[in-house]
Subunit: 268 residues, 2 copies
Protein backbone atom coordinates (compact mmCIF):
# COMPACT_ATOMS: atom_id res chain seq x y z
CA UNK A 1 0.00 0.00 0.00
CA UNK A 2 1.17 3.54 -0.70
CA UNK A 3 2.60 5.65 2.13
CA UNK A 4 2.34 9.44 2.29
CA UNK A 5 3.18 11.18 -0.95
CA UNK A 6 6.12 8.97 -1.85
CA UNK A 7 4.33 7.40 -4.80
CA UNK A 8 1.89 10.20 -5.57
CA UNK A 9 2.07 11.93 -8.93
CA UNK A 10 0.01 14.96 -9.87
CA UNK A 11 -1.19 14.72 -13.45
CA UNK A 12 -1.34 18.25 -14.78
CA UNK A 13 -4.62 17.53 -16.62
CA UNK A 14 -6.31 17.66 -13.20
CA UNK A 15 -5.64 21.42 -13.17
CA UNK A 16 -5.73 21.88 -16.92
CA UNK A 17 -5.49 25.66 -16.97
CA UNK A 18 -2.71 25.98 -14.37
CA UNK A 19 0.48 27.15 -16.11
CA UNK A 20 3.28 24.60 -16.10
CA UNK A 21 5.69 26.69 -13.96
CA UNK A 22 2.96 27.05 -11.34
CA UNK A 23 2.23 23.32 -11.43
CA UNK A 24 5.91 22.61 -10.87
CA UNK A 25 6.32 25.22 -8.11
CA UNK A 26 3.09 24.12 -6.42
CA UNK A 27 4.03 20.46 -6.49
CA UNK A 28 7.55 21.05 -5.21
CA UNK A 29 6.25 23.24 -2.37
CA UNK A 30 3.68 20.60 -1.40
CA UNK A 31 6.23 17.81 -1.19
CA UNK A 32 5.03 16.13 -4.37
CA UNK A 33 7.84 14.24 -6.09
CA UNK A 34 6.37 13.45 -9.46
CA UNK A 35 4.14 14.93 -12.15
CA UNK A 36 2.28 13.53 -15.15
CA UNK A 37 2.60 15.85 -18.13
CA UNK A 38 0.68 16.48 -21.36
CA UNK A 39 2.19 17.27 -24.71
CA UNK A 40 0.27 20.46 -25.47
CA UNK A 41 1.23 22.47 -22.35
CA UNK A 42 4.79 21.15 -22.63
CA UNK A 43 4.95 22.32 -26.25
CA UNK A 44 3.52 25.71 -25.27
CA UNK A 45 6.17 26.22 -22.61
CA UNK A 46 8.86 24.65 -24.78
CA UNK A 47 10.13 21.08 -24.57
CA UNK A 48 13.62 21.68 -23.26
CA UNK A 49 12.48 24.52 -21.02
CA UNK A 50 9.85 22.18 -19.55
CA UNK A 51 12.39 19.42 -19.02
CA UNK A 52 14.78 21.83 -17.28
CA UNK A 53 11.98 23.32 -15.15
CA UNK A 54 10.88 19.94 -13.83
CA UNK A 55 14.42 18.69 -13.32
CA UNK A 56 15.56 21.79 -11.48
CA UNK A 57 12.59 21.56 -9.14
CA UNK A 58 13.68 18.04 -8.23
CA UNK A 59 10.57 16.45 -9.70
CA UNK A 60 10.40 13.36 -11.84
CA UNK A 61 7.95 12.84 -14.70
CA UNK A 62 5.77 9.78 -14.22
CA UNK A 63 4.19 9.75 -17.68
CA UNK A 64 3.58 11.80 -20.77
CA UNK A 65 0.10 11.89 -22.34
CA UNK A 66 -0.52 11.07 -25.07
CA UNK A 67 0.42 9.14 -28.17
CA UNK A 68 -1.88 6.84 -30.08
CA UNK A 69 -4.73 7.85 -32.40
CA UNK A 70 -3.52 5.29 -34.91
CA UNK A 71 -6.24 6.13 -37.42
CA UNK A 72 -4.98 9.69 -37.92
CA UNK A 73 -3.06 10.42 -41.12
CA UNK A 74 0.09 11.56 -39.33
CA UNK A 75 0.06 8.83 -36.67
CA UNK A 76 3.56 7.52 -37.35
CA UNK A 77 5.40 10.82 -37.33
CA UNK A 78 3.35 12.16 -34.47
CA UNK A 79 3.93 9.11 -32.28
CA UNK A 80 7.65 9.14 -32.95
CA UNK A 81 7.67 12.79 -31.94
CA UNK A 82 5.74 11.94 -28.76
CA UNK A 83 8.32 9.26 -27.93
CA UNK A 84 11.13 11.78 -28.46
CA UNK A 85 9.35 14.24 -26.21
CA UNK A 86 8.90 11.64 -23.47
CA UNK A 87 12.60 10.80 -23.67
CA UNK A 88 13.55 14.49 -23.51
CA UNK A 89 11.38 14.95 -20.41
CA UNK A 90 12.81 11.85 -18.74
CA UNK A 91 9.37 10.26 -18.74
CA UNK A 92 9.66 6.47 -18.63
CA UNK A 93 6.15 6.09 -20.07
CA UNK A 94 4.16 7.40 -23.02
CA UNK A 95 0.43 6.80 -22.53
CA UNK A 96 -1.36 5.71 -25.70
CA UNK A 97 -4.97 6.66 -26.33
CA UNK A 98 -5.40 4.42 -29.32
CA UNK A 99 -8.11 6.32 -31.19
CA UNK A 100 -11.66 5.54 -32.26
CA UNK A 101 -13.07 3.95 -35.38
CA UNK A 102 -11.94 6.55 -37.93
CA UNK A 103 -14.66 5.19 -40.23
CA UNK A 104 -13.48 1.60 -39.88
CA UNK A 105 -15.09 -1.43 -38.28
CA UNK A 106 -14.01 -2.24 -34.75
CA UNK A 107 -11.91 -5.18 -35.90
CA UNK A 108 -10.19 -3.13 -38.59
CA UNK A 109 -9.56 -0.26 -36.20
CA UNK A 110 -8.05 -2.66 -33.66
CA UNK A 111 -5.85 -4.22 -36.33
CA UNK A 112 -4.64 -0.74 -37.13
CA UNK A 113 -3.66 -0.29 -33.48
CA UNK A 114 -1.75 -3.58 -33.52
CA UNK A 115 0.11 -2.53 -36.68
CA UNK A 116 0.89 0.85 -35.14
CA UNK A 117 2.38 -0.77 -32.05
CA UNK A 118 4.53 -3.00 -34.22
CA UNK A 119 5.87 0.04 -36.05
CA UNK A 120 6.56 1.99 -32.85
CA UNK A 121 7.72 -0.50 -30.25
CA UNK A 122 11.37 -0.76 -31.40
CA UNK A 123 11.62 3.02 -31.73
CA UNK A 124 10.22 3.51 -28.23
CA UNK A 125 12.43 0.82 -26.76
CA UNK A 126 15.60 2.35 -28.15
CA UNK A 127 14.50 5.72 -26.78
CA UNK A 128 14.02 4.16 -23.34
CA UNK A 129 10.31 4.98 -23.33
CA UNK A 130 7.68 2.39 -22.55
CA UNK A 131 4.41 2.56 -24.47
CA UNK A 132 1.39 2.20 -22.18
CA UNK A 133 -1.84 1.20 -23.92
CA UNK A 134 -4.71 2.78 -22.04
CA UNK A 135 -8.01 0.93 -22.16
CA UNK A 136 -10.66 3.63 -22.11
CA UNK A 137 -14.24 3.39 -20.94
CA UNK A 138 -16.43 1.79 -23.64
CA UNK A 139 -18.41 5.02 -23.97
CA UNK A 140 -15.32 6.33 -25.81
CA UNK A 141 -14.98 3.32 -28.13
CA UNK A 142 -16.27 5.10 -31.24
CA UNK A 143 -14.34 8.34 -30.96
CA UNK A 144 -11.36 7.96 -28.63
CA UNK A 145 -10.26 4.37 -28.07
CA UNK A 146 -11.31 1.13 -29.69
CA UNK A 147 -9.35 -0.48 -26.84
CA UNK A 148 -12.16 -0.58 -24.29
CA UNK A 149 -11.09 -3.22 -21.78
CA UNK A 150 -7.96 -4.24 -19.91
CA UNK A 151 -8.32 -7.61 -21.62
CA UNK A 152 -8.12 -5.90 -25.01
CA UNK A 153 -5.11 -3.81 -23.97
CA UNK A 154 -3.23 -6.85 -22.65
CA UNK A 155 -3.98 -8.76 -25.82
CA UNK A 156 -2.54 -5.93 -27.92
CA UNK A 157 0.54 -5.68 -25.66
CA UNK A 158 1.25 -9.41 -25.59
CA UNK A 159 3.38 -9.73 -28.76
CA UNK A 160 5.92 -7.20 -27.46
CA UNK A 161 8.58 -7.27 -24.75
CA UNK A 162 7.21 -6.22 -21.36
CA UNK A 163 9.70 -3.36 -21.15
CA UNK A 164 8.57 -2.00 -24.55
CA UNK A 165 4.78 -2.15 -24.29
CA UNK A 166 2.66 -2.12 -21.15
CA UNK A 167 -0.77 -0.90 -20.12
CA UNK A 168 -2.02 2.26 -18.40
CA UNK A 169 -4.68 1.51 -15.82
CA UNK A 170 -7.07 4.34 -15.05
CA UNK A 171 -9.71 3.42 -12.50
CA UNK A 172 -12.27 5.65 -14.24
CA UNK A 173 -12.06 3.58 -17.40
CA UNK A 174 -12.00 0.06 -15.99
CA UNK A 175 -13.87 0.05 -12.65
CA UNK A 176 -17.14 -1.37 -14.09
CA UNK A 177 -15.52 -4.49 -15.55
CA UNK A 178 -16.34 -7.63 -13.61
CA UNK A 179 -13.12 -9.12 -14.99
CA UNK A 180 -10.89 -6.25 -13.90
CA UNK A 181 -9.37 -7.77 -10.75
CA UNK A 182 -8.37 -11.09 -12.33
CA UNK A 183 -7.10 -9.09 -15.32
CA UNK A 184 -4.94 -6.87 -13.08
CA UNK A 185 -3.46 -10.00 -11.53
CA UNK A 186 -2.80 -11.36 -15.03
CA UNK A 187 -1.33 -8.04 -16.17
CA UNK A 188 1.54 -8.26 -13.65
CA UNK A 189 4.61 -6.54 -15.02
CA UNK A 190 2.66 -5.17 -18.00
CA UNK A 191 1.31 -2.46 -15.70
CA UNK A 192 3.26 0.62 -16.77
CA UNK A 193 1.12 3.41 -15.36
CA UNK A 194 -1.63 3.72 -12.74
CA UNK A 195 -4.05 6.63 -12.69
CA UNK A 196 -6.87 7.35 -10.26
CA UNK A 197 -10.16 9.10 -10.97
CA UNK A 198 -13.65 8.44 -9.70
CA UNK A 199 -16.93 7.71 -11.47
CA UNK A 200 -19.50 10.34 -10.57
CA UNK A 201 -23.00 10.99 -11.91
CA UNK A 202 -24.69 12.56 -13.76
CA UNK A 203 -22.52 12.36 -16.86
CA UNK A 204 -22.26 15.70 -18.67
CA UNK A 205 -22.92 16.08 -22.40
CA UNK A 206 -20.07 14.54 -24.43
CA UNK A 207 -19.06 12.69 -21.21
CA UNK A 208 -15.39 13.73 -21.29
CA UNK A 209 -15.28 16.17 -18.39
CA UNK A 210 -17.42 14.45 -15.76
CA UNK A 211 -14.86 12.65 -13.60
CA UNK A 212 -14.44 13.04 -9.88
CA UNK A 213 -11.54 13.20 -7.45
CA UNK A 214 -10.85 9.81 -5.86
CA UNK A 215 -13.44 9.18 -3.17
CA UNK A 216 -16.15 11.34 -4.74
CA UNK A 217 -17.84 8.43 -6.50
CA UNK A 218 -18.20 4.67 -6.52
CA UNK A 219 -14.75 3.30 -7.44
CA UNK A 220 -13.29 0.88 -4.88
CA UNK A 221 -9.84 2.47 -4.62
CA UNK A 222 -8.61 0.39 -1.70
CA UNK A 223 -9.29 -2.83 -3.55
CA UNK A 224 -7.84 -1.44 -6.76
CA UNK A 225 -4.61 -0.27 -5.12
CA UNK A 226 -4.16 -3.56 -3.30
CA UNK A 227 -4.66 -5.38 -6.60
CA UNK A 228 -1.98 -3.39 -8.46
CA UNK A 229 0.39 -3.79 -5.51
CA UNK A 230 -0.21 -7.52 -5.48
CA UNK A 231 0.40 -7.63 -9.24
CA UNK A 232 3.88 -6.29 -8.50
CA UNK A 233 3.47 -2.66 -9.54
CA UNK A 234 5.73 -0.41 -7.50
CA UNK A 235 5.63 2.78 -9.62
CA UNK A 236 3.92 6.14 -9.24
CA UNK A 237 0.21 6.50 -8.60
CA UNK A 238 -1.09 9.42 -10.61
CA UNK A 239 -4.28 11.26 -9.95
CA UNK A 240 -5.71 12.45 -13.26
CA UNK A 241 -9.20 13.93 -13.24
CA UNK A 242 -10.93 15.51 -16.23
CA UNK A 243 -13.54 17.71 -14.62
CA UNK A 244 -15.10 20.94 -15.84
CA UNK A 245 -15.76 22.02 -12.25
CA UNK A 246 -12.17 21.35 -11.10
CA UNK A 247 -10.80 23.11 -14.17
CA UNK A 248 -12.75 26.23 -13.26
CA UNK A 249 -10.92 26.52 -9.94
CA UNK A 250 -7.47 27.84 -8.94
CA UNK A 251 -4.74 25.29 -9.54
CA UNK A 252 -3.36 25.47 -6.00
CA UNK A 253 -6.77 24.60 -4.58
CA UNK A 254 -7.08 21.72 -7.01
CA UNK A 255 -3.65 20.40 -6.02
CA UNK A 256 -4.49 20.63 -2.30
CA UNK A 257 -7.76 18.76 -2.77
CA UNK A 258 -6.14 16.19 -5.02
CA UNK A 259 -3.50 15.44 -2.40
CA UNK A 260 -6.18 15.16 0.28
CA UNK A 261 -8.22 12.81 -1.90
CA UNK A 262 -5.15 10.70 -2.62
CA UNK A 263 -4.25 10.46 1.05
CA UNK A 264 -7.77 9.41 1.92
CA UNK A 265 -8.12 6.66 -0.64
CA UNK A 266 -4.61 5.29 -0.16
CA UNK A 267 -5.34 4.93 3.55
CA UNK A 268 -8.34 2.69 2.80
CA UNK B 1 -31.29 -13.30 -42.34
CA UNK B 2 -34.57 -11.50 -41.75
CA UNK B 3 -37.01 -11.07 -44.64
CA UNK B 4 -39.43 -8.15 -44.94
CA UNK B 5 -41.26 -7.37 -41.74
CA UNK B 6 -41.88 -10.96 -40.73
CA UNK B 7 -39.55 -10.78 -37.74
CA UNK B 8 -39.71 -7.04 -37.10
CA UNK B 9 -41.09 -5.80 -33.80
CA UNK B 10 -41.68 -2.15 -32.99
CA UNK B 11 -40.73 -1.37 -29.42
CA UNK B 12 -43.05 1.32 -28.22
CA UNK B 13 -40.23 3.14 -26.39
CA UNK B 14 -39.02 4.28 -29.84
CA UNK B 15 -42.10 6.53 -29.99
CA UNK B 16 -42.41 7.07 -26.27
CA UNK B 17 -45.20 9.65 -26.34
CA UNK B 18 -47.38 7.87 -28.92
CA UNK B 19 -50.53 6.58 -27.19
CA UNK B 20 -50.80 2.79 -27.09
CA UNK B 21 -53.94 2.57 -29.27
CA UNK B 22 -52.18 4.63 -31.93
CA UNK B 23 -49.10 2.43 -31.71
CA UNK B 24 -51.26 -0.63 -32.22
CA UNK B 25 -53.30 0.87 -35.06
CA UNK B 26 -50.21 2.25 -36.75
CA UNK B 27 -48.34 -1.04 -36.52
CA UNK B 28 -51.28 -3.10 -37.79
CA UNK B 29 -51.79 -0.71 -40.71
CA UNK B 30 -48.10 -0.88 -41.61
CA UNK B 31 -48.03 -4.66 -41.70
CA UNK B 32 -46.05 -4.94 -38.48
CA UNK B 33 -46.81 -8.19 -36.64
CA UNK B 34 -45.25 -7.64 -33.27
CA UNK B 35 -44.70 -4.95 -30.65
CA UNK B 36 -42.45 -4.58 -27.65
CA UNK B 37 -44.31 -3.01 -24.73
CA UNK B 38 -43.39 -1.11 -21.57
CA UNK B 39 -45.10 -1.46 -18.23
CA UNK B 40 -45.92 2.21 -17.60
CA UNK B 41 -47.94 2.87 -20.77
CA UNK B 42 -49.62 -0.53 -20.40
CA UNK B 43 -50.61 0.33 -16.83
CA UNK B 44 -51.89 3.75 -17.94
CA UNK B 45 -54.13 2.20 -20.59
CA UNK B 46 -55.06 -0.72 -18.35
CA UNK B 47 -53.49 -4.18 -18.41
CA UNK B 48 -56.41 -6.21 -19.69
CA UNK B 49 -57.51 -3.45 -22.06
CA UNK B 50 -53.96 -3.37 -23.47
CA UNK B 51 -53.88 -7.14 -23.87
CA UNK B 52 -57.24 -7.10 -25.68
CA UNK B 53 -56.21 -4.18 -27.88
CA UNK B 54 -53.06 -5.89 -29.09
CA UNK B 55 -54.76 -9.28 -29.53
CA UNK B 56 -57.71 -7.89 -31.48
CA UNK B 57 -55.33 -6.08 -33.82
CA UNK B 58 -53.69 -9.41 -34.60
CA UNK B 59 -50.37 -8.37 -33.09
CA UNK B 60 -48.15 -10.40 -30.85
CA UNK B 61 -46.06 -9.00 -28.01
CA UNK B 62 -42.36 -9.73 -28.40
CA UNK B 63 -41.26 -8.53 -24.97
CA UNK B 64 -42.26 -6.51 -21.94
CA UNK B 65 -39.85 -3.99 -20.41
CA UNK B 66 -38.87 -4.04 -17.66
CA UNK B 67 -38.29 -6.01 -14.49
CA UNK B 68 -35.07 -6.04 -12.52
CA UNK B 69 -33.71 -3.27 -10.27
CA UNK B 70 -32.86 -5.87 -7.67
CA UNK B 71 -31.51 -3.32 -5.22
CA UNK B 72 -34.88 -1.59 -4.81
CA UNK B 73 -36.83 -2.24 -1.63
CA UNK B 74 -39.87 -3.67 -3.42
CA UNK B 75 -37.93 -5.70 -5.97
CA UNK B 76 -39.57 -9.06 -5.21
CA UNK B 77 -43.18 -7.92 -5.34
CA UNK B 78 -42.57 -5.64 -8.27
CA UNK B 79 -40.85 -8.30 -10.33
CA UNK B 80 -43.61 -10.83 -9.62
CA UNK B 81 -46.09 -8.23 -10.77
CA UNK B 82 -44.07 -7.63 -13.93
CA UNK B 83 -44.08 -11.38 -14.64
CA UNK B 84 -47.86 -11.47 -14.16
CA UNK B 85 -48.23 -8.54 -16.53
CA UNK B 86 -46.05 -10.20 -19.17
CA UNK B 87 -48.17 -13.35 -18.90
CA UNK B 88 -51.40 -11.36 -19.19
CA UNK B 89 -50.10 -9.63 -22.33
CA UNK B 90 -48.97 -12.91 -23.88
CA UNK B 91 -45.38 -11.71 -23.84
CA UNK B 92 -42.96 -14.65 -23.81
CA UNK B 93 -40.20 -12.45 -22.40
CA UNK B 94 -39.70 -10.03 -19.52
CA UNK B 95 -36.58 -7.91 -20.03
CA UNK B 96 -34.58 -7.36 -16.84
CA UNK B 97 -32.63 -4.17 -16.29
CA UNK B 98 -30.82 -5.40 -13.23
CA UNK B 99 -30.19 -2.10 -11.46
CA UNK B 100 -27.09 -0.18 -10.41
CA UNK B 101 -25.00 -0.25 -7.27
CA UNK B 102 -27.63 0.95 -4.79
CA UNK B 103 -24.77 1.90 -2.48
CA UNK B 104 -23.16 -1.52 -2.66
CA UNK B 105 -19.89 -2.65 -4.19
CA UNK B 106 -20.07 -4.11 -7.69
CA UNK B 107 -19.58 -7.65 -6.41
CA UNK B 108 -22.28 -7.25 -3.77
CA UNK B 109 -24.68 -5.69 -6.26
CA UNK B 110 -24.08 -8.56 -8.68
CA UNK B 111 -24.65 -11.10 -5.93
CA UNK B 112 -27.94 -9.38 -5.22
CA UNK B 113 -28.91 -9.86 -8.89
CA UNK B 114 -28.03 -13.55 -8.70
CA UNK B 115 -30.14 -13.95 -5.56
CA UNK B 116 -33.01 -12.10 -7.22
CA UNK B 117 -32.93 -14.42 -10.22
CA UNK B 118 -32.99 -17.43 -7.95
CA UNK B 119 -36.07 -16.09 -6.22
CA UNK B 120 -37.87 -15.26 -9.47
CA UNK B 121 -36.95 -17.96 -11.98
CA UNK B 122 -39.43 -20.61 -10.76
CA UNK B 123 -42.22 -18.04 -10.57
CA UNK B 124 -41.49 -16.86 -14.11
CA UNK B 125 -41.23 -20.36 -15.46
CA UNK B 126 -44.59 -21.39 -14.07
CA UNK B 127 -46.09 -18.24 -15.59
CA UNK B 128 -44.63 -19.16 -18.97
CA UNK B 129 -42.50 -16.02 -19.04
CA UNK B 130 -38.80 -16.10 -19.76
CA UNK B 131 -36.57 -13.67 -17.90
CA UNK B 132 -34.11 -11.92 -20.20
CA UNK B 133 -31.09 -10.36 -18.47
CA UNK B 134 -30.07 -7.30 -20.45
CA UNK B 135 -26.40 -6.37 -20.31
CA UNK B 136 -26.33 -2.60 -20.48
CA UNK B 137 -23.56 -0.34 -21.68
CA UNK B 138 -20.90 0.10 -18.96
CA UNK B 139 -21.70 3.80 -18.77
CA UNK B 140 -24.86 2.69 -16.93
CA UNK B 141 -23.07 0.36 -14.50
CA UNK B 142 -23.41 2.65 -11.47
CA UNK B 143 -27.04 3.66 -11.83
CA UNK B 144 -28.90 1.24 -14.10
CA UNK B 145 -27.22 -2.13 -14.53
CA UNK B 146 -24.26 -3.71 -12.82
CA UNK B 147 -24.54 -6.31 -15.59
CA UNK B 148 -22.39 -4.55 -18.15
CA UNK B 149 -21.32 -7.28 -20.58
CA UNK B 150 -22.86 -10.24 -22.37
CA UNK B 151 -20.30 -12.36 -20.53
CA UNK B 152 -21.69 -11.15 -17.21
CA UNK B 153 -25.29 -11.76 -18.29
CA UNK B 154 -24.54 -15.29 -19.47
CA UNK B 155 -22.73 -16.05 -16.24
CA UNK B 156 -25.76 -14.91 -14.23
CA UNK B 157 -28.13 -16.93 -16.44
CA UNK B 158 -26.07 -20.12 -16.39
CA UNK B 159 -27.44 -21.72 -13.18
CA UNK B 160 -31.00 -21.67 -14.54
CA UNK B 161 -32.84 -23.64 -17.21
CA UNK B 162 -32.52 -22.03 -20.65
CA UNK B 163 -36.29 -21.70 -20.91
CA UNK B 164 -36.45 -19.82 -17.59
CA UNK B 165 -33.60 -17.33 -17.90
CA UNK B 166 -32.04 -15.96 -21.06
CA UNK B 167 -30.38 -12.75 -22.19
CA UNK B 168 -31.61 -9.67 -24.03
CA UNK B 169 -29.13 -8.46 -26.62
CA UNK B 170 -29.34 -4.79 -27.51
CA UNK B 171 -26.75 -3.71 -30.07
CA UNK B 172 -26.45 -0.30 -28.44
CA UNK B 173 -25.23 -1.82 -25.21
CA UNK B 174 -22.83 -4.47 -26.51
CA UNK B 175 -21.42 -3.30 -29.85
CA UNK B 176 -18.11 -2.03 -28.41
CA UNK B 177 -17.14 -5.36 -26.80
CA UNK B 178 -14.36 -7.14 -28.65
CA UNK B 179 -15.69 -10.37 -27.17
CA UNK B 180 -19.27 -9.88 -28.35
CA UNK B 181 -19.28 -12.14 -31.42
CA UNK B 182 -17.75 -15.16 -29.71
CA UNK B 183 -20.08 -14.51 -26.78
CA UNK B 184 -23.15 -14.45 -29.06
CA UNK B 185 -22.04 -17.80 -30.48
CA UNK B 186 -21.63 -19.12 -26.93
CA UNK B 187 -24.99 -17.68 -25.88
CA UNK B 188 -26.87 -19.89 -28.37
CA UNK B 189 -30.32 -20.71 -27.01
CA UNK B 190 -29.88 -18.27 -24.11
CA UNK B 191 -30.73 -15.46 -26.53
CA UNK B 192 -34.27 -14.53 -25.55
CA UNK B 193 -34.63 -11.08 -27.07
CA UNK B 194 -32.82 -9.06 -29.73
CA UNK B 195 -33.06 -5.29 -29.92
CA UNK B 196 -31.47 -2.90 -32.40
CA UNK B 197 -30.32 0.65 -31.81
CA UNK B 198 -27.30 2.53 -33.09
CA UNK B 199 -24.44 4.31 -31.35
CA UNK B 200 -24.37 7.97 -32.36
CA UNK B 201 -22.32 10.90 -31.08
CA UNK B 202 -22.21 13.25 -29.31
CA UNK B 203 -23.68 11.72 -26.19
CA UNK B 204 -26.18 14.03 -24.49
CA UNK B 205 -26.01 14.87 -20.78
CA UNK B 206 -27.06 11.87 -18.65
CA UNK B 207 -26.48 9.74 -21.80
CA UNK B 208 -29.86 7.96 -21.71
CA UNK B 209 -31.58 9.54 -24.70
CA UNK B 210 -28.82 9.70 -27.28
CA UNK B 211 -29.39 6.56 -29.34
CA UNK B 212 -29.90 6.43 -33.08
CA UNK B 213 -32.08 4.45 -35.48
CA UNK B 214 -30.21 1.48 -36.94
CA UNK B 215 -27.87 2.71 -39.64
CA UNK B 216 -27.41 6.19 -38.18
CA UNK B 217 -24.21 5.29 -36.33
CA UNK B 218 -21.36 2.82 -36.21
CA UNK B 219 -22.94 -0.52 -35.18
CA UNK B 220 -22.29 -3.37 -37.64
CA UNK B 221 -25.88 -4.59 -37.91
CA UNK B 222 -25.30 -7.06 -40.74
CA UNK B 223 -22.62 -8.85 -38.78
CA UNK B 224 -24.66 -8.72 -35.59
CA UNK B 225 -27.80 -10.17 -37.24
CA UNK B 226 -25.84 -12.93 -38.93
CA UNK B 227 -24.26 -13.78 -35.58
CA UNK B 228 -27.60 -14.12 -33.75
CA UNK B 229 -29.02 -16.14 -36.66
CA UNK B 230 -26.01 -18.45 -36.56
CA UNK B 231 -26.42 -18.81 -32.80
CA UNK B 232 -29.87 -20.26 -33.54
CA UNK B 233 -32.06 -17.31 -32.64
CA UNK B 234 -35.24 -17.29 -34.76
CA UNK B 235 -37.39 -14.85 -32.75
CA UNK B 236 -38.45 -11.25 -33.27
CA UNK B 237 -35.98 -8.47 -33.97
CA UNK B 238 -37.09 -5.38 -32.07
CA UNK B 239 -36.04 -1.87 -32.83
CA UNK B 240 -35.88 0.09 -29.58
CA UNK B 241 -34.36 3.58 -29.69
CA UNK B 242 -34.24 6.01 -26.78
CA UNK B 243 -33.85 9.35 -28.49
CA UNK B 244 -34.97 12.80 -27.42
CA UNK B 245 -35.15 13.91 -31.04
CA UNK B 246 -37.28 10.92 -32.13
CA UNK B 247 -39.53 11.35 -29.11
CA UNK B 248 -40.26 14.93 -30.15
CA UNK B 249 -41.73 13.75 -33.47
CA UNK B 250 -45.13 12.32 -34.46
CA UNK B 251 -45.39 8.60 -33.75
CA UNK B 252 -46.45 7.65 -37.27
CA UNK B 253 -43.35 9.32 -38.71
CA UNK B 254 -41.17 7.55 -36.17
CA UNK B 255 -42.73 4.18 -37.08
CA UNK B 256 -42.23 4.80 -40.81
CA UNK B 257 -38.57 5.72 -40.32
CA UNK B 258 -38.01 2.83 -37.96
CA UNK B 259 -39.36 0.37 -40.53
CA UNK B 260 -37.20 1.93 -43.24
CA UNK B 261 -34.12 1.71 -40.98
CA UNK B 262 -34.91 -1.92 -40.14
CA UNK B 263 -35.34 -2.83 -43.80
CA UNK B 264 -32.05 -1.19 -44.67
CA UNK B 265 -29.94 -2.86 -42.00
CA UNK B 266 -31.54 -6.30 -42.41
CA UNK B 267 -30.70 -6.18 -46.12
CA UNK B 268 -26.99 -5.71 -45.30
Amino acid sequence: MTQGLERFSFNQATAKHWPLPDVVDGCAAAGVRSVGLWREPVASYGLSRSAALVREAGLSVSSLCRGGFFGADDWLDDNKLAIDEAAALGSPVLVLVCGGLFGRTLDDARSRVAAGLEALAPYAQSAGVRLAIEPMHPMFAADRSVVATLRGALSLASPFPVEAVGVALDTYHVWWDEQVFPLIAAAGSRIACVQLADWVLPLPADVLLGRGLPGAGCVEFGRFLRAVDKAGYTGPIEVEVFSASLWARPGKDVLRETIAAYETVTAQ
